[in-house]
């Protein structure tokens, strides 16, 4: 029976190929929407993970801080339990870092006669000392040290970033869900049309004693294959976008560009998209079959 179902399904997919392509495209679009958001969230998540593992306190030195003050500061920091590692940035290094983060501002910053950025010490905070209050106290202490202009920590930024990631994912899922529903309904109507077209055949099969399973299996298989095809199309399109943005000099907001190109979806997520396509197809098939079977 399996061979029969597969053969029937493939034959009929080919016979109605235009209609089926449309249905696949519909699923592909919804999965593409979902996939885009997942890609953004994935890369964003990587950033957050990288950054989140670094809780840093930035200590900005005064312009007139002496070399001695600086080295004494660094020495005293090295011994402390809160400190995981420290990195010193000269004003020049700070400027370069700034320009790398915000390439659009490169021209503006290079036109300045004086480098406005101070020298700074980036302190990576060790595990166990990352509670907001502890960080606050530590930072206050840094501010009072000789040679220090200011100090701050960026925890709120990381938290907010995590929220953004979650929101992105949620937006993607809900948007994908809504479009996905449309896709399921589209496939359902495609399958229903197919069934109507084969009404006579189905009736005769019933009259000679075919079970409902025997009759339904090819349709279900057909709609599932349509779904997988849609999933595959969406992955292909997503990858094409990914590579296109990476290769072209498209004037996208750098952040968005980075989020689209840093890396592609992990294999598990890609497989998930295919699976969702399959499910959408199968659901669509089931939906229309329910209305037909008496």
């Amino acid at each position: 029976m399996i061979r029969h179902s597969v053969r029937e399904a493939l034959l009929n997919l080919w016979r109605n190929r235009f209609m089926n392509l449309v249905a696949s495209f519909t699923i592909a679009v919804s999965l593409l929407v979902l996939g885009l958001f997942l890609l953004l969230a994935h890369n964003l998540g990587d950033v957050v993970a990288a950054v989140g593992s670094q809780v840093t306190v930035s200590v900005y030195l005064r312009g007139d801080a002496s070399e001695e003050q600086r080295s004494r500061l660094m020495e005293s920091l090295r011994g402390r339990p809160e400190v995981d590692s420290i990195e010193y940035f000269t004003p020049q290094a700070a400027l370069e870092k700034f320009q790398k983060l915000f390439p659009n501002m490169r021209e503006v910053s290079s036109e300045l006669e004086e480098n406005p950025l101070p020298a700074s010490v980036e302190i990576r905070i060790a595990q166990g000392h990352r509670e907001p209050e502890a960080l606050g106290r530590f930072t206050e202490e840094m501010k009072r040290l000789p040679g220090v202009e200011d100090a701050d920590f960026d925890l709120p930024w990381v938290t907010r970033l995590r929220e953004v990631v979650n929101m992105t994912r949620a937006a993607g899922v809900s948007l994908g869900g809504v479009v996905g529903l449309a896709a399921i309904l589209t496939i359902a109507s495609v399958v229903r049309m197919t069934i109507y077209g084969r009404q006579q055949e189905i009736e005769i099969m019933r009259l000679v004693g075919a079970t409902r399973t025997y009759i339904a299996a090819p349709f279900l298989l057909e709609s599932s294959l349509l779904g997988i095809l849609g999933g595959g199309l969406s992955l292909g399109a997503l990858y094409a976008i990914h590579r296109h943005v990476a290769n072209s000099q498209a004037s996208l907001v750098p952040v968005l560009r980075e989020l689209l190109t840093a890396s592609f979806l992990p294999q598990s997520t890609s497989a998930l998209l295919l699976l969702l396509g399959l499910l959408a197809g199968a659901l669509g098939g089931l939906l229309s079959l329910r209305r037909i079977s008496r």
Binding site: M1, H4, Q200, E201, E203, I204, M205, R206, L207, V208, G209, A210, T211, R212, Y214
Partner: protein, 218 residues
């Protein structure tokens, strides 16, 4: 083989297709079901293979209680029967071979057996030269014979035929009846609905008559 006890079929709004039908057909019998158009012949046949459900009464076919059959039991019933429809009900997009073999495909008969049985029954009906033709390429008589071949290929216990010669000329009609007689001799119970009086007279078999939904007594 077929037993009906106080069977009624009511379509509502005063349209009673069958009223208090009682009849029995023994295994191996050859029975004609006759009556004017609209008398209820087709309805009665449809009750036997559960295309319709009786409003009341009991129906037994080959030992199965048709009235209480579940949805999953219906295919099992139909596989024991061979049904010839008045409008043939052939699949236009399949060849003659495929139309006949389909019945066995559906019941999971292995491929090689399908081939041999299909060829055998098509030969018996004089259709072996049309094996690869499509129904629309055949004459009415040939199409009817394909439909009969399909009904017979699974060697059913009971053959139900609804006006099987309605579209055929007298000579062909007689050929078909002779064929039915042969099948009947081989053991298949045959129930034929028809209003061809000449045929009935010539065949000399038992006759059940329906008159406005009721069984007429002879």
């Amino acid at each position: 083989m077929v037993e009906l006890y106080h069977v009624n079929k009511d379509y509502g709004r005063g349209h009673q297709a069958l009223v208090d039908i009682n009849l029995a057909v023994e295994k191996g019998e050859f029975v004609f079901l006759t009556g004017a158009s609209g008398a209820g012949k087709t309805t009665l046949l449809r009750l036997l293979f559960r295309e319709e459900i009786a409003t009341s009464g009991k129906i037994l076919v080959d030992g199965m209680n048709v009235s209480t059959l579940s949805a999953s039991g219906v295919p099992k019933l139909r596989r024991r029967l061979g049904i010839v429809f008045q409008d043939f009900k052939l699949l236009a997009r399949r060849t003659v071979f495929e139309n006949v073999a389909m019945v066995m495909e559906v019941t999971g008969v292995p491929r090689h057996r399908q081939r041999s049985k299909t060829y055998a029954v098509l030969e018996m009906l004089g259709l072996n030269h049309k094996v690869r033709s499509y129904p629309l390429e055949l004459s009415g008589g040939e199409q009817q014979r394909v439909a009969i071949a399909r009904a017979l290929v699974n060697e059913p216990a009971l053959l139900l035929a609804d006006e099987p010669t309605g579209n055929l000329d007298p000579r062909l009609s007689w050929d078909i009846m002779t064929l039915f007689k042969t099948i009947n001799i081989r053991g298949t119970t045959v129930l034929v609905a028809t209003h061809d009086k000449d045929l009935i007279t010539r065949m000399g078999k038992r006759v059940l008559t329906l008159d406005c939904g009721r069984m007429a007594t002879h």
